[in-house]
């Protein structure tokens, strides 16, 4: 009996099991946590981080790094709103934003892969450049949307669940599939494990990197559009610091910064842990300054538990 529980916790799905236990605990002890409304609120609050974590997972798995996601989200939100207003068509606005996001990603990818500039520096640079562009294009101001139909992206519901949550779920499934069941996913993981060996085995490492960053940019646009719809305007200051939240959600979910290791379930759990921590602290009315401290310790605890688990596996 106890051994089978042990096996469960320390097994491959251990992180998930720990998460489910923690979730159960929180549900039982925190009032108002396990209500439909709060669950939907919680899920909506993790949409931005969750959406971007999907592609950040690929980026990290390939031993890269993207700090420009926050700026890109803000930028694409701005573009979506401004292009919608300019063309009078929401559809065109969205298309333009997706193209803009992918372009930023492409730029990152080309600079990193072809000019061989360190990913940290490159994306730190684009982070600034893109934020600057967002600010310049709007003169630093929030831009309202002319056509209220734009709000429907975030407000509309299907089976009682808001669209952004469906989008998030769909992306989790798609990218989970891509990671585990496609050549693209496997090549990404191989590149992270040993880039030179992968190149010699015929993986076009440069192309892969460019694709990964472009995809990342495209997904930033998706997040930016949803965010703009949710806050009913394009805001050049939105999503600052997002990069660190996303990266820590990924690392929390077991993605290795040294590349080569990533799972979609892990990332989902990582995203949810961060979201729940925030949600519960607010439900429990923990004072803002103490929230910093608590957040820090939750991060440590979550990784510690996971580490104990994996070293226990090693020891068996």
């Amino acid at each position: 009996m106890t051994t089978s529980i042990k096996k469960l916790i320390l097994g491959d799905q251990g992180l998930l099991v720990i998460f489910i236990l923690a979730f159960a605990l929180v549900s039982l002890t925190v009032p108002n946590f396990l209500t439909e409304r709060n669950m939907l609120g919680l899920l909506q609050s993790v949409v931005t981080v969750g959406v971007i974590a999907c592609t950040m997972m690929f980026c990290l798995a390939a031993r890269d790094f993207d700090l420009s996601v926050g700026s890109n989200v803000a930028f694409c939100g701005m573009v979506a709103v401004m292009a919608s207003n300019a063309t009078g068509s929401i559809f065109l606005g969205i298309l333009t934003a997706l193209a803009a996001g992918a372009l930023v990603g492409l730029f990152n990818g080309v600079v990193i892969a072809k000019f061989r500039i360190n990913a940290l520096i490159t994306t730190l640079a684009t982070m600034q450049i893109v934020r600057g562009l967002a600010l310049i294009s709007s003169d630093g101001r929030a831009v309202g949307i002319d056509d209220p139909g734009f709000y429907q992206l975030a407000l509309s519901r299907f089976l009682g669940v808001p669209t952004p949550i469906w989008v998030l779920a769909a992306l989790f499934i798609v990218f989970g599939f891509v990671l585990n069941r496609t050549v693209f996913g496997k090549n990404t993981l191989a590149m992270g494990g040993n880039p030179e060996a992968s190149r010699l085995a015929g993986v076009n490492v440069d192309w892969m990197r460019i694709w990964i960053f472009t995809l990342q940019g495209f997904i930033c646009a998706v997040a930016g559009i949803l965010l703009a719809s949710r806050i009913t305007s394009g805001q050049p200051n939105a999503a600052t610091g997002l990069e660190l939240s996303v990266i820590s959600a990924c690392v929390l979910g077991g993605v290795s910064l040294a590349g080569g290791r990533a799972t979609m379930t892990g990332v989902i759990v990582g995203v949810m842990i961060m979201g729940i921590a925030e949600n519960v602290m607010n439900l429990l009315n923990i004072q803002a300054f103490y929230q910093y401290v608590v957040r820090g310790f939750i991060l440590l605890l979550a990784v510690l538990l996971d580490n104990m688990r994996s070293s226990a596996i090693g020891r068996r």
Binding site: T182, F184, G193, A197, N204
Partner: protein, 503 residues
């Protein structure tokens, strides 16, 4: 004389693997003790336990009758044990001397005395006959030179027990000789030397006594190597007889498949040209640094070429990228498995299928069932010792990793030219003959095979034709009928050396 170093009842398990079970034996002072066994038999694990890098589940290590309780490699070192590991353990950004002194820099108040350090290292290297400049950065050294630096660690330290795990696997015979005379000296000095190798010649050349491991157990222990025969050791290792390890058989040779025309590049300025035919096994021999690897790397697209043409079956490989070469049927299994071969953190299955899976996919989507089958097939074929195909490759023994990389290229379909650089590096005798057999089969099916080997008996044993390289040029071409150790070596040695050794 009683044993100075004693293993008693050593057992060690990893998930799904019993690496060592109840191994006991002893080694005298002033003896070179051979440790042999198939890939995955547990040799490196035993050495790791000796060096404090791994802890035995059961059993003890005794030195001079004293039971050792290491907590770390540092403790083992303090007890007088130095280990030269199977995989190179050097820091590329530091100089040779810094690498040799790492962990024990000569310092006063934490400040290193550099001039004294370089002086000391230079002297000791000279004494040992190792000609590497101590001020060079390790990153600038060739793989052979690195191996010599690794070996130099043994002479730097005044160790009572020195264990060497396959030290010659990337050395040519010339450098091996330097190592051997070094070991002779250490033996005379009364040290205890544990020597792991898959090369029987070396074992007979060096060892006084011998232990054979099989499947983690003690298969045989010979207090003296006198009277022990090769065949006996082989059968103790693999549990069966191997009559002719090379097993060369003649086969028809077809049309030209690979044309290499004036290929040259940064590291190989002299244009090189040669051809390989369908069904032919072409060998490349040369000393370390002769440029064989560089040539094959340029052919396969691993390194850029500055000029020249490579054609397979008349089709030009233009881009000089590995991806193109592979798709046109030219694959290279490279010599440095750690940096160019294994993909750390990924399973054996993924390591095998990274290239060949493209034949099994539909619109980029994998067929996991077929992938599993392919992996299983080749793992079995090369008898890779592992609990499962899902195992992380980093957990395999060195020789088994090498086999997995071979699986990668054997599983590739539509290969017309197979380039293999030191294919049997670190591979046990049993598996070697199986690999040779696979090469013959592939050649019989019409593949052109190019083999680099630094083991002269190997090139002579399995090749139909040998090209000898010397200082970046192809210096001789010899047909199987004319194979002769003397002439091949003469072509491999630079002129001045030949003159000196003849004189």
């Amino acid at each position: 004389m009683s044993a100075y170093l004693e293993f008693s009842g050593i057992s060690k398990s990893y998930p799904g693997v019993k690496a060592l079970s109840d191994v006991s034996f002893g080694v005298r002072k002033g003896a070179v003790h051979g440790l042999m066994g198939e890939n995955g038999a547990g040799k490196s694990t035993l050495i790791r336990i000796l060096s404090g890098d791994a802890a035995a589940d059961e059993g003890t290590v005794r030195l001079d009758g004293e039971t050792q309780h290491y907590q770390s490699t540092r403790d083992a070192f303090d007890a007088g044990v130095v280990v030269i590991h199977q995989e190179l353990q050097l820091v590329p950004g530091l100089t040779v001397a810094e690498n040799l002194c790492l962990g024990r820099f000569p310092a006063t108040g934490g400040v290193i005395g550099f001039s004294a350090m370089y002086e000391d290292v230079r002297r000791k290297l000279e004494l040992a006959g190792i000609s590497v400049d101590p001020t060079r950065k390790v990153a600038e050294l060739s793989i052979g030179e690195r191996q010599m630096v690794e070996i130099a660690k043994a002479v730097m330290l005044d160790a009572r027990v020195i264990a060497l795990d396959e030290p010659t696997s990337s050395l040519s015979s010339r450098e091996s000789e330097i190592l051997f005379s070094l070991i002779d000296r250490l033996r005379e000095d009364g040290r205890v030397i544990l020597y792991i190798s898959h090369r029987l010649d070396e074992v007979f050349r060096l060892c006084d006594s011998l232990t054979v491991l099989r499947d983690g157990r003690l298969a045989a222990h010979h207090e003296t190597i006198k009277g022990v025969t090769r065949d006996q050791i082989v059968s103790e290792m693999v549990g069966r007889e191997i009559s002719d390890i090379w097993g060369w058989r003649s086969r028809p040779v077809g049309a030209v498949e690979l044309e290499v025309d004036s290929v040259h590049g940064e590291k190989l300025p002299v244009p090189a040209s040669f051809e390989a035919r369908r069904g032919e096994i072409l060998g490349f021999f040369g000393l370390i640094g002769a440029g064989r690897s560089e040539l094959l790397r340029m052919i396969s697209g691993a390194d850029p070429r500055a000029g020249g043409h490579v054609r397979v079956g008349g089709v030009e490989i233009a881009s000089g990228q590995p991806a193109e070469a592979i798709r046109k049927g030219v694959v290279l299994c490279s010599e440095d498995r750690k940096f160019d071969g294994i993909i750390q953190g990924r399973s054996l299955e993924e390591n095998i299928l990274i290239s060949s899976r493209r034949h099994l996919t539909r619109f980029g989507v994998l067929d996991l069932r077929q992938e599993g089958q392919v992996a299983e097939t080749f793992l079995k074929k090369l008898r890779v010792r592992t609990p499962s195909r899902k195992q992380d490759i980093i957990n395999l023994s060195g020789g088994n990793q090498q086999k997995v990389i071979l699986c990668r290229w054997l599983s590739e379909k539509g290969v017309r030219v197979l380039l293999v650089d030191e294919p049997t590096r670190g591979i046990d005798v049993g598996a070697k003959s199986e690999i040779y057999d696979i090469l013959y089969q592939l050649a019989e099916e019409g593949m052109a095979i190019v083999v680099i080997s630094s083991e002269l008996p190997e090139v002579m044993g399995i090749c139909d034709r040998i090209l000898v390289m010397c200082e970046g040029r192809i210096s001789a071409e010899i047909e199987r009928a004319d194979f002769n150790e003397q002439s091949i070596l003469a072509a491999a040695l630079p002129d001045e050396v030949t003159a000196a050794s003849v004189g």
